[in-house]
Symmetry: C2
Subunit: 519 residues, 2 copies
């Protein structure tokens, strides 16, 4: 096993305001409060007798409870976890008198330490002095990363279809430098091209030094970036001194390759024998390749324990972690004490590493089933044929038209992770699009997509139009759509199989109408 | 009853970045999701069957449980409140499947509505279209107010001793315009003076348009601003078009005037007969005077239900509320679902208005007792004599010195609210200070205070030095201390009476040493 080296100095990436942030003067006070025998008349902590809560009890699932995806489900093997107000045993840290009190902005030390060990085991970061710092969910985390690094009017590197809520934070202050993507996410050649020719194409603007990416289960495209692609992207970021923010809410929702129903073997074998095999099956992260400390990984419990926990964590180099902690002190302070106490009690005290991994394995199975539902249901309404371009499938009509041909509607790559199927509609054969082009409409693609979306809504099925994910390139302007295509995002995470079926049938009718085709 | 008018247009106070903030495109999606019969393949919500929590149970105190201040205390009349995963009755909104799901950034509608009604009853805002918006604690709230209104290098009006954590947020980007304070807080004449002569004294700098103030139980001074003073300050803010951010964590911790033990009648009468009498006893807020919508009130549950809830709310005009909501969407999203579910279940479902008010009345009693402990204990170690300047007391030695005189150490005003006693040390009679002055030390006051603080620590009693609260006036520079005085903050919220007694005795010994006096 090679010896890892510490992070290199990347402090020049920190923006001016963050450089000027001073530690809370109360830190000196906290230090002295720990002196044995000290009487503190210093701190403005309300006495826990003024908290009207005496104990907390949460009925939780066993880690291998899977339930029926999409059904209300009560685990038959549930346990109650409890957090008392005051310690029942000496030095007990997870009590309400501590969880509901002001604390250091680092939050629960036990939870942080658990996630550190978990990250070490699962991600194997590529340098030695990385740290874990809790945040209040990845939306909070990302806003702190932008506030750490970006100056006004700077450019941020993003996928050409980028997560809309992430860009909503920086859109009023920064601009997007979009990078082309395919079924594996960011295309290294395009990233290199954007950075290499930056000065020619953007004279007077600073070259971007922050890349925002969702490498696994990309939102909206569902793309998953493999190891080789990640190595190429990482090397380019080293060459051009770019910090990678790896936002990974869907990391543990990874699936086997999709197989069409008629090609599928039944019964399917169990995916994993052990937790180690599960860990080994996960695609390596940017963090694992990061020998310099230039990756900021955003982890969240939103997709694994529920979004309402508003709890997650950064994994990053110690210089960034210290500045992010300073920012945390003056904004969120800590994640909710209830969230921390419950998650700590569940995964640290009750489940442990093995239990948490078993829970994640179960989630992977749930989302595999759901991904299969959606793709299978698409294959019921449309014929799905391989395009020969990697895993890409083309959806065509089941029946031939008057010309003896089957109508091609859209292409998509069945995702290997995440929650989304992103479909690419080929508009050139629709009369409605041709009419818009004939009328000389410059924005024909978006106009057509809006019209199609409204027809879907009339048919009572709701998708997200692809233009929601078009990067803001400044002054409220967004990247123009590619000629002759439109995108829509379908989520397979929430609706029941029956609803999904009905939704896809409705969508099929709208396709048939617009393509003037039978299904 | 007069008819209230809506807020005037104050949108020119919103900074450029916030003006450019766009609503989330997903809003259009949310609208359609509510259409009956709609099948949504749009939203990326994890199905609640993937949340490993089945029910929540919290043992809570009865609203009139007071306990013994500062003792571990188990209420004899506790109840268990429960939140199920799925509705037990139709349309039940407070369930874990909702609380732990993504939600609109407005958070719990029932809790918001309850706090709206509560605010209307207790504060009686002075205009018609004010709104309530949840935040994740007042530190989060204040950071959002600064991010709403302030541009880089702007000045913010603050009390000349200002809450250190509040200024830690803006210190890297803005500067303080300090306003003099006395035992009632901000001095109107000084505020008028600062604003009236701004352009002369700060040529080229924009006149400040945001005032940050803690009107009740001011941190660190403990000052409470009466109604007349508030009217004067409000009128000045109208005249000069200043927005008032009223940060009020201690509003419900209000006390009767402090009476020295030997003047006290025993037994003391009960403070209030009814909830209405309690509400009537509270000093009116800036919000109640606000006929234009220029007050942003920061409310928090930190001092009333525990800081770890990380939950509070803004009360402000609808234009500010809409922009604060946009900022919430892209940062914290919502406060923790656990915090919201528990607080909603406790105060909305279980306590109701009357119960919540009774709980607050009880807290007022707890902190009155604690304030009295501290002042009584000061009167045991020192002699306290009136200075004739309002309620101000002078602490002098109990015994006369060789010259037959008692030594004067410090002055303070026993607080009428909050958690703090702020003592003002008169240094001119200490040989150590005289020595520093003789040596020509420019920063003699701070040097002396640091020395004194270290001596306190050696004696094992910890106070907060007053210079922690000195406003940052730009380039890392802070307001210089007044000549010949030093301040220290004593908190009476946390330590037991015995510890407080010991702490004040130790402090007394350090005073005696520095003043070369007997106690």
């Amino acid at each position: 096993m090679s010896t890892l080296t510490p992070a290199i100095d990347l402090s020049h990436h920190i923006n001016q305001a963050t450089q000027l942030r001073v530690p809370s003067p109360l830190k000196a006070i906290f230090k002295h409060m720990k002196t044995p025998g000290m009487i503190s008349l210093a701190s403005g902590l309300p006495h826990p007798s003024t908290f009207p809560f005496e104990s907390l009890h949460v009925k939780v699932c066993a880690p291998d409870a899977k339930g029926i995806p999409g059904e209300k489900y009560t685990s038959t093997s549930s346990t109650t976890i409890s957090v008392p107000k005051y310690p029942c045993v000496e030095n007990e840290q997870n009590t309400l008198s501590i969880a509901l009190q002001y604390s250091d902005a680092t939050g629960s030390a036990r939870l942080t330490s658990f996630m550190y060990d978990f990250t070490k085991r699962v991600m194997k970061p590529g340098y030695s002095d990385w740290q874990v710092l809790l945040h209040s969910g990845s939306t909070d985390g990302w806003s702190k990363v932008v506030s750490l690094m970006c100056e006004k009017d700077e450019y941020i590197l993003v996928e050409e279809h980028t997560f809309s809520s992430a860009q909503a934070f920086w859109a009023p202050i920064c601009k997007a430098a979009p990078v082309a993507i395919d079924h594996e996410g960011l295309i290294p050649e395009d990233l290199e091209d954007v950075l290499e020719h930056w000065d020619e194409k953007h004279p007077g603007s600073k070259r971007p030094h922050l890349l925002y990416t969702v490498p696994v289960g990309q939102n909206p495209t569902g793309a998953t970036m493999g190891l080789e692609r990640k190595k190429q992207i990482y090397d380019i970021c080293v060459k051009h001194d770019v910090i990678i923010c790896e936002d990974e809410p869907y990391y543990f929702l990874q699936f086997p390759r999709y197989v069409l129903p008629f090609q599928r073997c039944l019964p399917q074998p169990a995916r994993y024998i052990s937790e180690e095999e599960f860990v080994g099956s996960l695609v390596p992260t940017f963090l694992s390749l990061d020998y310099q400390g230039r990756v900021i990984r955003l982890e969240t419990f939103s997709k694994t324990l529920g979004p309402g926990n508003r709890l997650g964590y950064f994994v990053c180099n110690p210089v960034f972690a210290e500045r992010l902690l300073r920012a945390t002190e003056v904004t969120t302070q800590t994640a909710s004490g209830w969230s921390q106490a419950i998650v700590e009690q569940l995964i640290v005290s009750h489940w442990g590493h093995e239990g948490f991994l078993r829970w994640l394995m179960g989630l992977g199975d749930v989302y595999t089933t759901r991904r299969d539902w959606m793709c299978d249901l698409l294959s019921e309404t449309f014929d799905l044929v391989s395009t020969g371009n990697s895993d890409e499938l083309l959806a065509i009509s089941k029946d031939s038209g008057k010309d003896g041909q089957k109508t091609p509607f859209f292409t998509f790559s069945p995702p290997r992770s995440g929650m989304f199927v992103y479909i690419k509609l080929h508009l050139e054969h629709t009369s409605s699009f041709k009419a818009l082009k004939t009328e000389g409409e410059e924005d024909a693609e978006n106009m057509w997509a809006q019209m199609f979306w409204e027809s879907l809504i009339e048919e009572k099925v709701l998708l997200v139009p692809g233009d929601y994910y078009a990067p803001y390139i400044g002054r409220g302007q967004r990247v123009k759509p590619k000629p002759g295509v439109a995108f829509f995002r379908l989520a397979f995470c929430y609706e029941s199989k029956e609803e999904m079926k009905l939704g896809i049938q409705r969508m099929g009718r709208v396709f048939a109408k617009y393509w003037d085709s039978e299904l």
